[in-house]
Symmetry: C2
């Protein structure tokens, strides 16, 4: 197995996580709708957008250099564009949870999950802007000096986004108190699939950089 | 800043996390004691041992190649020994939570936190044994072929251990329902310090491997 092997596993676990998340939100929970009077349907936009819109697309953006044929310049444009779409969809997901808190009259940004999530998202925006600035303005030399930091920072932020997702699942799970056994296991398997998606994306970068 | 800069940040956040965790467990919570009649004093052995005994020492073991002077062979022995101590202390921490569940008559290994934690710990033991086997038996060639996998696997497991810690904090926090504001913030800052410890240890490895 090489970096292409880990890419395949990354895709498998990413798709698995997406399917399990949809089964959970659509079958066991209330469904997904931004313009609903049921606050929980609004809330469910948040996990869906933060995983599928943000984390899944960011993972795809990271894997661009393995999966997209074409020149390095093309790959860079895809990498950058996927990240931009991920950030926009992530903002929709964040708006959903603020709207939910509003509907419930709950305080915002209270838990460890929200601190990690908001912090990661802001740093992510900064990382994207820095990447764009270096692409447009940097000299070949400054870009080469920046590259290891861009990679290390990006991997760290992706890792933090996975931590945000897992603490979020854990918070929702614990707040459900005693969900039926089937739902408990579904949530656990969803979390594991998200974690393994993160692990295999990260390993792909590590193994590619190494060789 | 280079890899040594990130090492310093790793140490700072590791120590900060340890101090915050102790303030939480000793001041806000019931204290730490394995042989206690108070199940919560027994439980508190678990977060303390899993962070200080396991994650903190594993982080130190990973940083060995930056922080321990001497030959590569010496660093390898320190790396291996610190991991062994971490695994032993981690087992104590795991026993504590099983003892707590016994005292409370609660089910074991039910939550996402426990699934991630147990899975990571088992794979960690396997990784350690494989590392030892290759050190003792492997040819120079097979060791060189194994090295990127050992590094990528080790980083993934360290990342998973941090996820286990954060989901654990999140579970305990949510189960406390309405802890006083001060305690809430303390738990959040502890979680962030653990996360940043993980990030800087991982960045150190990434930046060293890169150069």
């Amino acid at each position: 197995m090489n970096a292409y092997g880990t890419t395949i596993f990354a895709h498998l676990f990413g798709l698995l996580a997406l399917i399990l998340l949809l089964v959970w939100l659509l079958h066991y929970r209330e469904g997904i709708e931004y313009d609903s009077d049921d606050p929980f349907r609004v809330f469910n936009v948040h996990p869906f957008m933060m995983f599928f819109g943000f984390i899944f697309l960011v993972g795809q953006a990271i894997l661009t250099y393995q999966t997209v044929p074409g020149t390095y310049e093309t790959q860079k444009i895809v990498h950058l564009t996927l990240h931009l779409i991920a950030i926009i969809l992530g903002i929709v997901g964040l708006c959903a949870v603020f709207k939910f808190h509003d509907m419930m009259n709950w305080a915002d940004v209270d838990s460890l999950h929200s601190w990690i999530g908001i912090g990661t998202f802001c740093l992510f925006g900064l990382q994207w802007l820095l990447g764009l600035a270096f692409m447009l303005q940097g000299s070949t030399q400054s870009r080469a000096a920046m590259a290891p930091w861009h990679v290390a920072g990006g991997r760290a932020l992706f890792f933090m986004a996975i931590c945000a997702a897992l603490t979020g699942l854990m918070e929702r799970y614990t707040s459900l108190k005693q969900p039926p056994q089937g739902e408990t296991h579904l949530i656990n398997f969803t979390g594991l699939a998200i974690l393994l998606f993160g692990v295999f994306v990260d390993m792909t970068v590590g193994l590619t950089r190494y060789s």
